[in-house]
C-alpha cells in the first residue's frame, strides 16, 4: 500500500488492466474499463455509463451496475457519434455515475452542471482523447470505397492516421486501410464537426486517457486532471485492477505534439469548410435564410444538443409559430442566439437534422465570434458561468 501511494504523485502515467481479458478487449490498455469496474466494486459509483457495440456503425449507451457488462463494452467505437451528456443528466440526480467521455461529452456535462442539471460531485468523467468520430453513413461509404461489403464489416480501427476496416465474407477476413488525409481529400471521412474540433485531450474531465504518448499499444496513457480523478485512479491501483508505470518524459512531449498537430489541421479544415467567410453582408443574409428555410421544426437539434438544458417549455418552442412565416423562424433564431456563448461545436444537431441543414457551420459562425469576443470557452470550467446570464460584460468590466 505505502509503496503504491508514494508512486502516485505524478500527473502522467502509463496504465493498463491487470485482468488479461479486459486488457485484450480494451482499445489500448483496458485502463478505462478496469477503472470503471474498480469504481463500481469499491462503491465510488452506483452505475457506469458505457457504449455497447451493436455493429461498427452503431453504439448504444448502456447504464449498468454489472461489471460484466462494462467489460463487454471495452474498446473504441469511431462510427458511433453519440454524445453521452443527456443520459447523464437523466440519471445523475439519483445515482453516482462513472463514464468514458470524449472532450465533447465532458464539455456538455460541464455546461449542464453550470445550468444545475447535474452535480459534478456525482459524475466521474474518464476522458478519452479524441481524433474524431465518423457518421455511420460515411463509414459505410468508406467500406464501399475499400471494395468491402459494408454489411460484412465487423471491425474498425483508427491508428496512426489511417482508417482500418475488417470485413468477414464467407468466413474469410479481409483488412483494408487508407490514410485519413487521402480519404478526406476524396470527400470521405470524419464528421465536419470533428474535422474542425480543437479539443483533443479532455483535461476538463477527471482523467484524460489515450494512446498518444504511450510506447505500447496495450498501455493507456493517463493524465490525472482532478482530485476526483486521482481518487478513482489510485483506488483502481490499490485494489489491484490496474497496473501503472510512470509515463516517459518523451511520451508527454509526443502527446503534446500530436495534439498541437491535430489542432493545426483542425484550424485549416475550419477555414476550408467555411463557405460563408468569403460572402458579402447581403450574401451572408441570403445564405442563412436559404439554409434555414428548409427546417421542418422537428425539434431534434434541440433534443440532442448537449448544452441546452431547456425542456418542453423552452422559449424557442413556446415562441415559435409556423403561421408567422418569418424569413427565419423564431425557433431557429432563438436557438442560434441562445447558444452564442455556449455552443461547443460538437455537431450533434447537424447529425440528426432530417433535412441536412449545415447546422454545425451556422452555430459555429454565430457562436465562435461571440466566444472569441468574450474570451470565453464553454465546457471547460464549471465555475465560469454562461456570459449571457451575467450582469456585467466581461469586456466592459475590463475597459471601464
Amino acid at each position: 500500500m505505502e509503496e503504491v501511494k508514494a508512486k502516485m504523485n505524478s500527473k502522467y502515467y502509463l496504465a493498463w488492466a491487470k485482468d488479461e481479458g479486459i486488457r485484450k478487449k480494451g482499445a489500448n490498455g483496458g485502463f478505462v474499463t478496469a477503472t470503471l469496474v474498480s469504481a463500481l466494486e469499491n462503491d465510488f459509483i452506483d452505475v457506469a455509463l458505457v457504449v455497447r457495440k451493436k455493429s461498427v456503425y452503431e453504439g448504444i449507451p448502456v447504464l449498468t451496475s454489472d461489471a460484466e457488462v462494462v467489460k463487454e463494452c471495452a474498446g473504441s467505437l469511431h462510427g458511433a457519434p453519440i454524445n453521452l451528456t443527456k443520459y447523464v443528466v437523466e440519471h445523475a440526480a439519483k445515482k453516482r455515475i462513472g463514464l468514458p467521455t470524449k472532450p465533447c461529452d465532458a464539455r456538455g456535462i460541464i455546461e449542464q452542471a453550470k445550468r444545475r442539471q447535474v452535480s459534478l460531485e456525482n459524475v466521474f468523467m474518464i476522458g478519452l482523447n479524441c481524433g474524431a468520430t465518423l457518421h455511420p453513413l460515411r463509414m459505410r461509404e468508406i467500406a464501399s470505397y475499400y471494395a468491402l461489403d459494408p454489411d460484412s464489416v465487423v471491425r474498425e480501427e483508427i491508428k496512426e492516421g489511417k482508417i482500418f476496416l475488417v470485413s468477414e465474407e464467407e468466413g474469410e477476413e479481409k483488412e483494408k486501410w487508407m490514410k485519413i488525409d487521402e480519404l478526406e481529400a476524396k470527400g470521405y471521412g470524419r464528421r465536419d464537426a470533428c474535422k474542425s474540433c480543437i479539443t483533443k485531450i479532455p483535461t476538463m474531465a477527471d482523467l484524460a486517457c489515450g494512446i498518444w504518448g504511450s510506447n505500447d499499444e496495450k498501455k493507456t496513457f493517463v493524465e490525472v486532471c482532478s482530485e476526483k480523478g486521482g481518487a478513482i485512479f489510485e483506488n483502481a491501483v490499490d485494489s489491484g485492477y490496474v497496473e501503472i508505470e510512470e509515463a516517459p518524459e518523451k511520451g508527454i512531449e509526443t502527446r503534446q505534439k500530436k495534439e498541437a498537430g491535430m489542432q493545426k489541421r483542425a484550424a485549416s479544415w475550419k477555414e476550408k469548410m467555411d463557405e460563408v467567410s468569403g460572402l458579402s453582408r447581403s450574401e451572408r443574409f441570403e445564405f442563412y435564410v436559404d439554409a434555414l428555410k428548409n427546417c421542418i421544426h422537428c425539434g431534434a437539434c434541440k433534443a440532442v444538443c448537449p448544452v441546452c438544458a431547456c425542456e418542453e417549455d423552452a422559449k424557442c418552442l413556446e415562441m415559435n409559430d409556423e403561421r408567422d412565416s418569418y424569413a427565419i423562424s423564431m425557433y431557429n433564431v432563438l436557438r442560434i442566439f441562445h447558444l452564442m456563448d455556449s455552443c461547443i461545436h460538437c455537431g450533434q444537431c447537424e447529425d440528426v437534422c432530417p433535412v441536412d441543414i449545415p447546422l454545425t457551420l451556422i452555430q459555429r459562425r454565430f457562436s465562435e465570434r461571440m466566444q472569441h469576443r468574450l474570451r470565453y470557452t464553454p465546457g471547460m470550467d464549471v465555475m465560469e458561468k454562461p456570459p449571457l446570464y451575467e450582469t456585467e460584460l466581461r469586456w466592459s468590466a475590463k475597459a471601464e
Binding site: R281, S282, M319, S325, V333, L334, F337, F366, L388
Partner: protein, 143 residues
Amino acid sequence: MAEREEWEPKILAFCCNWCSYAGADAAGLERRQVPPTIRVIRVMCSGRIDPAFVLMGLLEGADAVLVTGCHIGDCHYVDANYKTRNRYEFLNEFVDELGLEPERLWLRWISASEGSLFAEMVREVTEKIKRIGPSPLRSEWKK
C-alpha cells in the same frame, strides 16, 4: 422611384417606463418634432426587454429596433440595465453575423428630462434607415 420616396421606415422602440418613456412624453410636451416613424412599446424596465422581443421585432419587419433605458446607475431595479447592455452586445453580434446592417439595432440611455435627446435620436435613426432602405427581413415577409 416615386414609390421609394414615399417609403417611411417603421422603427420599433422599447422604452422604460421610468426614463425613456417619460422622455418621449417630454418631447411631446415640449412640442418637439418627432418623426412618425416610431412605434413605442412601454416596458417597466429595460431589463424586461427579452432579446427574443427584439429579434421578433426584426422578424416582423421592423426596419430598426431601439432599446432604450435609464442611464447606467439610474435603473430603478438596481442593475437591470447592465443586463440590458450585456444582452445588447449579444444582439449586436447576432445582427451583424446574420447579415443585417448594424444600423438596425440601437441602444440609448435617455432620462425622463431628455425629451430633446429622444426626438433627436428618432430623427437620426429615421435618417440612417431611409438611407439604407427597408429591412431585408421585411421584404421577405411581404412576399
